[in-house]
Symmetry: C2
Amino acid sequence: MSNSLFAARGDHDAIENGTALMPRFDADGLIVAIATDATDGEVLMVAYMDAEALARTIETGEAWFYSRSRRRLWKKGEESGNVLAVSDIRIDCDQDAVVLKVTLGGDGVACHQGYRSCFYRSVPIGTAPDAELSLEPDTAMKRVKRAER
Amino acid sequence: MSNSLFAARGDHDAIENGTALMPRFDADGLIVAIATDATDGEVLMVAYMDAEALARTIETGEAWFYSRSRRRLWKKGEESGNVLAVSDIRIDCDQDAVVLKVTLGGDGVACHQGYRSCFYRSVPIGTAPDAELSLEPDTAMKRVKRAER
C-alpha cells in the first residue's frame, strides 16, 4: 500500500499549520510512533508504522505497527492479547512522528519483556557516561509475566 | 565523538535485562529521544541524539539533540531559552529509544511553532484515511508565542 492514503507533502506552512495529514515517512517508509497510557501519560513503547499500519490504526482505533526485525505489518497484541485501544492520535509539527494515547488490553503489559512499559530502566544523571555506567531498574515496575522472544 | 562513551552492544539478554547502557544508534548514528513533561507526562517533542548529545544530556541533566536538518549538535533552548531540565532518562528494552522526563524552561514552549508541545493536532479516528482527512487542532493548547523558523 502506498503513501496515497494521505495528502501529498505540502509546503512548510501547510505541513506545520494546516489541517491535512501529510506524514513524512523515512527512507524505509516508516514513521516513529509513541504509545502513551491514556490514564497517566506514561510512555509504554516506541515502534514504527508504515503507511498501511498508520492507515489501519486510524481506521480501526487499534494500534498497528511495522516490525523492522520481522519485516511485516503487525497488530499489537495479535498474539499476546495486549491490544492497544487508541483514543487519540497526535501528529507533530513537521509530521514525522505520532503519539498514540492508548488503553492497554489483556494483562496490562506493553513490553515483550513482561513489563507494563518498555522503559523499565533509568540512566543515572550527573556524570559523564562510560562503559561502567550502571542502569537503575525501576523497582516499582513489576514484571507481570515472563519475557517473550 | 564515537560510540565508545558507552558499553559495546552485548547479547540479547545483556541488552534487555542487563544494567549496562548499550544504546543502538541507527545507520545515521542517531537514537530517537522523546521529551515528556515531568509533571503530567505529556509528550512535548520528539528529536534525535547522536552519541555526544546523549552523553552531554546524561552528564549535564539538560537535553542536547542532534539536528538532522542543520546537521549539528544543539542544546535545546540555546536560542529560545526553552531549556529542558531532565529529571529522568529512561531507555527501552532493546536500547534504541530514550524517554526524558523534563521541566520546560523559559516561557514553557517546547515547539518552534510556539506551542507547549509539538503535538498540537489530532488525527480523527474511525474512518479510513484519504487526502480529505482533516486534522483537529487541540484548541486547549494555546500558541504562546510566534513561530520561529
